[in-house]
């Protein structure tokens, strides 16, 4: 019996010829994040297994809004020095970790990475097994190893031709809306099919990023020339694309014909509440905040489409639009391309790259009774601040169009 992409990668890292779903493995891990360095120190360990394969950044409360947060980062910087971590990205040279770590060569096809932060499934866009380790990231820091239960694999076939105005966000909101936010629970989800190839790397990245929103352990794409183009110059090691065997066993296969897809939004409460935005328009949902940011949708082409929509227009007087690029690199590119100028002229507030608003921590928290349309990933009650606020998830185009209209609208009317 052949193996899926995840099975091949896990087998290779466990030194096994074959592996099967349900099997427990100890695997060598290619990289991790430094969030658990304090735990390592508390355990009395004075070195990490490989300082060059530990990446770290402070992105949640960045820069710190309180003395307590400042002291926490101060402590982090001490640990970074103590453990000789070179891949540390200071404010102004960083951004949101999933973007920044990729920009600095953390992920390559075939890699197995276990790092802190749930959106680590994002790394699956690079044809790699990238997932969350939280407390046990300290085990990786100490030993360079972690246990895994081999997940069953499922295939999602993205069929047809993606309409010009739809993007990866609309695809994942469609998939989560149809299959539910638990269809990938404890599974490796592999995205294949014509639309997977048509999508830009950035769009696939959104789909992998929200892999955790459908419960997935891994959310993997095959690699192609778009993958290689992004990685070129960012990696100093060879890699090989990993493909599934023709006779690999999938627990389930789901096919979506996306030729008729229209822009999607997820109603407040759950990322699986996806519906076509055209069906919501009649409800006249007033928007207080439009957020274009997060690790999910704040890459260069996300800022480009927002700038295209907002060019020569204005953010509605009752709306504040917050824009936070996914990294400083993206910020710089958007600056040079003129996108940020366009957004600022339209009345948007351009922030630095941060996780802050998405998790309700910093730089754009919602108050009681407010409504936000957001390009981020989660709309659980209380996610972006007040439990009495509503968060709708949408693509960057839908966020930008809604910011102009002051209510949730179909972006096709503005393109």
């Amino acid at each position: 019996m052949g193996m899926t992409i995840a099975e091949k990668i896990l087998a290779a890292h466990a030194g096994a010829d074959t592996v099967k779903p349900g099997q427990y493995l100890w695997c060598k891990v290619d990289a991790t994040s430094g969030h658990r360095l304090a735990d390592l120190e508390a355990l009395g360990v004075d070195r990490v297994w490989d300082p060059e394969r530990v990446f770290m950044i402070d992105d949640h409360q960045a820069p710190p809004p309180t003395v307590a947060a400042a002291n926490k980062v101060r402590e982090l910087r001490r640990l970074i020095k103590k453990y000789d971590i070179t891949n540390y990205f200071e404010y102004g040279r960083g951004g949101i970790l999933h973007q920044v770590f990729a920009e600095h060569g953390m992920y390559a096809p075939g890699d197995l990475v276990a790092q802190c932060d749930s959106h680590s499934t994002a790394g699956g866009v690079f044809n790699a097994c990238v997932t969350n380790a939280n407390l046990d990231a300290v085990h990786v820091l100490a030993f360079g190893e972690l246990w895994f239960r081999v997940p069953a694999s499922v295939r999602v076939v993205l069929d047809g031709t993606l309409p010009a105005w739809c993007v990866g966000k609309d695809v994942i909101l469609k998939v989560a809306g149809e299959l539910g936010t638990d269809f990938g629970l404890y599974k490796s989800v592999e995205y294949v099919g014509p639309v997977a190839g048509q999508m830009s790397l950035a769009q696939r990245w959104t789909v992998s990023n929200m892999g955790v929103e459908v419960g997935a352990k891994f959310a993997i794409f095959e690699a192609d020339e778009k993958t290689d183009a992004f990685l070129a110059g960012r990696l100093d090691r060879p890699y090989r694309h990993v493909t599934a065997d023709p006779d690999a066993a999938y627990e389930a296969e789901y096919t979506f014909d996306l030729s008729d897809l229209t822009p999607m939004v997820a109603r407040p409460g759950d990322p699986g509440n996806g519906v076509p935005v055209e069906g919501v328009k009649a409800e006249r949902v007033k928007v207080d905040q439009a957020f274009l940011g997060s690790c999910t949708n704040a890459r260069l082409e996300d800022l480009e489409v927002a700038a295209r929509i907002l060019a020569g227009r204005e953010v509605h007087p009752d709306v504040r639009m917050l824009v936070s690029p996914s990294s400083q690199e993206v910020f710089g590119e958007a600056l040079k391309a003129g996108y940020l100028e366009t957004l600022v002229e339209a009345g948007a507030l351009v922030e630095h790259s941060t996780c802050g608003p998405c998790y309700g921590g910093h730089l754009g928290v919602l108050g009681d009774g407010e409504t936000c349309i957001s390009s981020s990933n989660r709309n659980f009650r209380g996610r972006m601040g007040s439990p009495l606020a509503d968060v709708w998830l949408a693509s960057p185009a839908t966020v930008a169009a809604s910011a102009i209209a002051g209510e949730i609208v179909d972006p096709r009317e503005y393109l």
Partner: protein, 176 residues
């Protein structure tokens, strides 16, 4: 680790996210909170006041995809509140792993949502996965961790910290 645990049940619905257990604007934004202070905000958005009603030894029962969302350790406030066992129809991978590492017995128990009412008492064997409803006498089998697997070893050690200490000594990475 105490193998058989008995307690009264609190019931929650489907998709209880870790954002509910560890609210970002309350806890992540305030890193100087103690564990007990942070636990006071547990489930604030979805069930205000619950954290102050929990008694040590209580059992939490939930529906599908318990602990979905962020990798925030939802087991930390639950443990701090004294929850002895968590049983759910299904549990997110990240949350389940956090639970093992925190040493809070947390079992996938298909059928549990219809098996017990809030306020009833359960007896749970956290090793075999046997669940008994002490009010109705009914039995349910939860998914037990297989003996010898890494999560079993970590849970039985009492959590990751104890497991790591033993392993570091074994490999000679720390002084005895």
């Amino acid at each position: 680790m105490e193998t058989v645990r008995t307690g009264r049940v609190w019931k929650f619905g489907d998709r209880i996210s870790t954002d509910f257990m560890v609210p970002g604007h309350r806890v992540l934004a305030n890193p100087d909170l103690s564990s007990d202070e942070a636990a006071g905000f547990c489930m604030e958005a979805n069930r205000p006041g619950w954290a102050s009603e929990v008694r040590p030894g209580d059992i939490l029962v939930a529906g599908i995809n318990f602990g979905c969302g962020s990798s925030r350790n939802g087991s930390e406030p639950l443990k701090a509140l004294g929850i002895a066992v968590v049983l759910a129809e299904s549990i997110s991978r990240i949350h389940l792993r956090n639970a093992v590492n925190t040493g809070l017995p947390t079992l996938v128990a298909p059928g549990i949502a219809g098996f017990v009412e809030e306020g009833q008492s359960l007896e749970v064997n956290i090793v075999t996965g046997e669940v008994k409803n002490l009010d109705t006498g009914a039995l349910l089998q939860a998914e037990a961790w297989q003996e010898g697997t890494p999560p079993y070893e970590i849970l039985m050690a009492g959590g990751l910290d104890a497991y790591m200490k033993a392993k570091l000594k074994e490999r000679g990475l720390v002084a005895n």
